[in-house]
C-alpha cells in the first residue's frame, strides 16, 4: 500500500514538475514540506494557474463563509468553517487527510498568489453545511492529481468525508 502511494506521489510530483517552472515547483514542494506537518506525502498540485476573483468582488472574496472567498478557488466540498473548524483547521474529532491536492489562488487584498492545500477532514459523515464547488483548473479522474471528485479521505483509517479546509502553504513562486 505504502509503496503504491509513494509511486503515485512520485508520478504526481513528476507531472507537477513537468507543468511548472522548476523554481515554482521547488517553492511549492518546500512550502509543503516545511509548512504542513500534516502532510506525510507529497502534495498534489491542484491548479497550475492562479485564479483571480471577478472584478468588484473583493468584499465577497474576503468573506470566509462565502464560496467566493479567495482561498476557495479550487474547493469542492463543505467548508470546515461551518462545521466547527475553520478554513485552516479540521473540526474537533476529525482527522486531516494525508493526501490532498493543491491550488494556486489570487488574494485580491494583497495582490499575491498563494499556494493553498485543500485537505479533507475525515472520520465523520458529511457536515452538510456550506457546500461549495469551484472547479477552475479541475480535471477528470484520469488526471487524479487535478481531480476533486474523488474522496481524498480514501487512505485514512476512517475514509468518511466530513468537510474541506484551505490551508495557505506560502506565496506562489514566479
Amino acid at each position: 500500500m505504502q509503496q503504491r502511494l509513494d509511486r503515485w506521489a512520485e508520478r504526481a510530483a513528476r507531472a507537477l514538475a513537468q507543468r511548472s517552472s522548476r523554481r515554482g515547483f521547488l517553492s511549492v514542494l518546500g512550502a509543503a514540506l516545511t509548512g504542513a506537518a500534516l502532510l506525510p506525502l507529497l502534495p498534489v498540485l491542484r491548479g497550475s494557474q492562479a485564479v483571480a476573483a471577478e472584478p468588484g468582488a473583493k468584499a465577497v472574496a474576503a468573506d470566509p463563509n462565502s464560496c467566493e472567498y479567495w482561498k476557495y478557488c479550487a474547493i469542492d466540498g463543505f467548508l470546515c468553517g461551518c462545521c466547527g473548524g475553520s478554513s485552516s483547521s479540521c473540526p474537533p474529532g476529525t482527522q486531516p487527510s494525508p493526501i490532498t491536492w493543491i491550488g494556486t489562488c489570487h488574494n485580491p487584498a494583497d495582490g499575491r498568489d498563494y499556494i493553498v492545500s485543500y485537505n479533507d477532514c475525515c472520520g465523520k459523515t458529511s457536515c452538510g453545511s456550506c457546500f461549495c464547488n469551484r472547479n477552475e483548473g479541475e480535471r477528470p479522474m484520469y488526471r487524479l492529481s487535478l481531480n476533486n471528485d474523488v474522496n481524498w479521505c480514501m487512505a485514512n483509517d476512517n475514509p468518511n468525508y466530513h468537510c474541506s479546509v484551505s490551508v495557505i502553504l506560502g506565496v506562489a513562486g514566479k
Binding site: M1, R4, L5, R7, W8, R11, A15, V51, I99, G123, K124, T125, S126, G128, F131, N133, R134, N135, E136, G137, E138, R139, P140, M141, Y142, R143, L144, D149, V150, N151, M154, A155, N158, P159, N160, Y161
Partner: protein, 423 residues
Amino acid sequence: MASFIGEEYRVPAAGGPFARPRAAIACVAVANYDGTAGGGGNRMGPRAYGALLALLTGFAAAAAPPLPAEHLDVTHLPPPSPHWMWVFDEALNNEIDTRLYLYDGDAHRELGQIDTGYWPGFTVSPDGRTTAITTTYFSRGSHGARTDVVEFTDNATLNVSGEIVLPPKRAQTLPTLYNVVYSADGKQLYVTNLSPAASYTVVDVVKRAVVGEIDTDGCVLVIPSAQRRISSLCENGRLLTVTVDDAGHEVARKLSAPFFSVDRDPVFVQAIPASNGVLFLSFLGDVYAVDVSGAEPQFTPAWPITSAAERGRWRPGGDQVGAYHRGAARLYVPMHRGADGSHKTGGSEIWVVDAAAHRRIARWPIDVKKYGSVDAVQVTQDERPLLFAATENSALLVMDANTGHLLHVESKLGQSLWYLMNP
C-alpha cells in the same frame, strides 16, 4: 398487479388500518382542547364544539357504509417496463446513506429503492435480473471497521440476494456507468479501485469470490468490450485494454495511441454507452466515439456539437453529461453558457444531436428558475423513448425524447439526484 398503479392505489391508502388510530388521535385532541380551554369568552364554548362534532360524525357514520377491513402486505413490482429508470441520490448531506430509486416514467411514481451505502458504484447484469452495488460500510454507522462489498439485488423483488466482500480499496468517487461493470456473459464483475493507486478487482460472480486484481498503471474506468476485455482511460489520453482469462488473470494488455488531448480539451470521465462502445464528450463539446467491439479499440475523428461561434461559450456540464439512444443514434446533452471551470454547471438547455449525421437537431430550454439546471440525463432505449433529466434542485423531469414535450415533473425526489441508469 396493475391495481396498485394510479388512483386505485391512492384511494385505499387514505383509510385502512391507519384510519382507526387517526380517529383516536382526533378524539384525544378534542378531549384535550375541551379540558384546557376552560370557560373563556367564546359564544359557543369548546364543549359545544365537541358535541357538534360528535353529532356530525355520527350522522356521517350512519349515512355511509363502513370501510372494509384491509390486509397489510408488501407491494409486488409489476413486470419490468422499458420506461423505468434507476435514479441515483448521492444524499449529499449524509453520504453514508445514498440510494437508487426505481422510478416509473409512465405511472410517474417511485416503485422502490435500493440502499447503496457510501459513494457507491452500480450496474445492471446483462440479463437485467440483478443490480450490483459496490459500496462501503462502517461497522458503527459513520465509523468503525471499513467493509467494501458488492451487493446483489434481485430486480424482481428488490431484495438483496447476496454479497461478496471486496478488498477495501474500491474507488470512492462520483458515479459513472463504468466504475463497476459485468463481463458480457455476466460471469465476471470488474470493480474500479483507487487507493490512490489505480487498479480493478476481478470478481467471479458464479463462485462468489474475488479472483484477481489488474493494475491499470493510473488508468481508470472499466469499459467492457468482448467477453474478457476491459478498457480503461489514461492520463495521457490513451485507452488501456486488458484481456483477462476465465480465472480472472491478465493474459494481454495494449495501450492505444492518444485519442484526445488532456491539456487542450479533456474528455469527461462519464462515458456514455453507445452501440459498439462508448462516446466521450469533451469540455468544449467534441464527441469522441470509441468502438470496442473489435480486436482493438477503433477511434473515429472527433466532431463538435457546437458551431464555431458557440464553441467555448456553450458547454456540456453537470454530473451526467450525456445520454444516447442507440436505435435513433440521438445524443442528448445538458448545455450551459460557461467558461473554463464551469464543467460541473448543469444545463439550461438540452441539446439533441443526430450522432450519425453529426448535426444538432433541437435545443430544448429548461425552466431553470422553476426546476434548477439539469445535472443528469438518461434516455430509455425503446421506440417511444422517454428522456429523464435530474436537476440541481432534485427535481426529476420526464420528457418525450422525440419532441422534448415535458410530460411530468417530480418536483422533489430524494435529496441530491446525480445520476440516472437504465434498468
